[in-house]
């Protein structure tokens, strides 16, 4: 059988399309566990902030510690990376830099009111998420921008219900996004 260049080009296009789909599904699969983890933690964090504001500081410290530890653990046990089941120092470093800069802004450089803090972290969290999405997967852009916009809407219009709003918008949003990615 002799193949024409048109058929060959079409076959290569087919291969490219499938490869893109698989790569995207790998990215989704890897991200989904972390999103579900952060979604649950953030949901609890905002609920504590809403119902027991006095304990919110410790609740958020617990959220960040568990979130970072969980994300690193997910990276280590990622079943798709059977070849490299080792500790990922880059991931831990990235998370520490990310949170280090966040705390530097909120505790040292800026004078954040509690409400502004509740809005800052999800926007700060979602910004790199949306930017990475421009290269990795468009769904990240959609999720990131949606959470940022809904956070700002809540910040300006949710009044005393803001933290409850954030529990569902941020925590629930991440959780739903993670569950959707597992099926995508």
């Amino acid at each position: 059988m002799i193949l024409q260049s048109k058929e060959a080009a079409s076959a290569l296009d087919e291969i490219d399309a499938i490869s893109r789909k698989v790569r995207q599904s790998i990215v989704y699969q890897r991200a989904s566990f972390s999103l579900i983890l952060w979604g649950v933690l953030v949901f609890i964090g905002y609920l504590v902030t809403f119902f027991a504001p006095r304990h919110s500081f410790y609740a958020w410290i617990a959220v960040y510690v568990l979130g970072v530890a969980g994300s690193v653990a997910i990276g280590v046990f990622d079943r798709l990376e059977q070849v490299r089941k080792s500790f990922d120092w880059r991931l831990l470093s990235a998370l520490l830099l990310f949170f280090g800069f966040g705390f530097l802004c909120t505790l040292t450089l800026g004078d954040f009111a509690p409400r502004a803090l509740s809005a800052f972290w999800p926007i700060y969290f979602m910004l790199p998420f949306a930017i990475v999405g421009l290269w990795a997967a468009r769904a990240f852009v959609f999720i990131g921008v949606s959470v940022m916009v809904l956070t700002l809407i809540g910040f300006f219009f949710a009044g005393p219900w803001f933290n409850l709003w954030m529990a569902f918008v941020n925590g629930g949003g991440l959780l739903l996004a993670g569950l959707w990615m597992r099926r995508a």
Binding site: L3, S5, A11, I15, I18, V22, I26, L80, V83
Partner: protein, 101 residues
């Protein structure tokens, strides 16, 4: 000279199966249902083509029970990866020749 291309891989659905498996990290497979959704194939059709690829030594099929449910995973063998790479090289060569005149 353009080498004879791989008739087994070139069939459209088998090409999609091989492309999907090739995009996975080495020695990592795809579950049957995942492969089905990625390739847009039906159960019977996908099973038959996986069988053909398996007989050619291009894929290996692993069956296991996960949470008491049967799970079939298809993995591209190293022979399959090599054959797929050759096939892609052949396709590129055909295009290059056509463009080169």
């Amino acid at each position: 000279m353009v080498e004879p291309f791989d008739e087994i891989i070139h069939q459209p659905l088998r090409l999609r199966i091989m492309a999907a498996l090739n995009a996975m990290p080495a020695k990592t497979g795809l579950e049957f249902t995942r492969l089905k959704s990625l390739t847009g194939a039906t159960d019977g059709n996908l099973g038959a083509h996986i069988e053909t690829l398996s007989k050619a030594g291009y894929v290996a099929v692993e069956k296991a029970f996960v949470a008491k449910r049967p799970q079939t995973t298809v993995i591209q063998t190293s022979a399959g990866r090599a054959a797929f790479a050759r096939h892609v090289a052949h396709l590129r060569e055909i295009i290059d020749r056509a463009e080169g005149g």
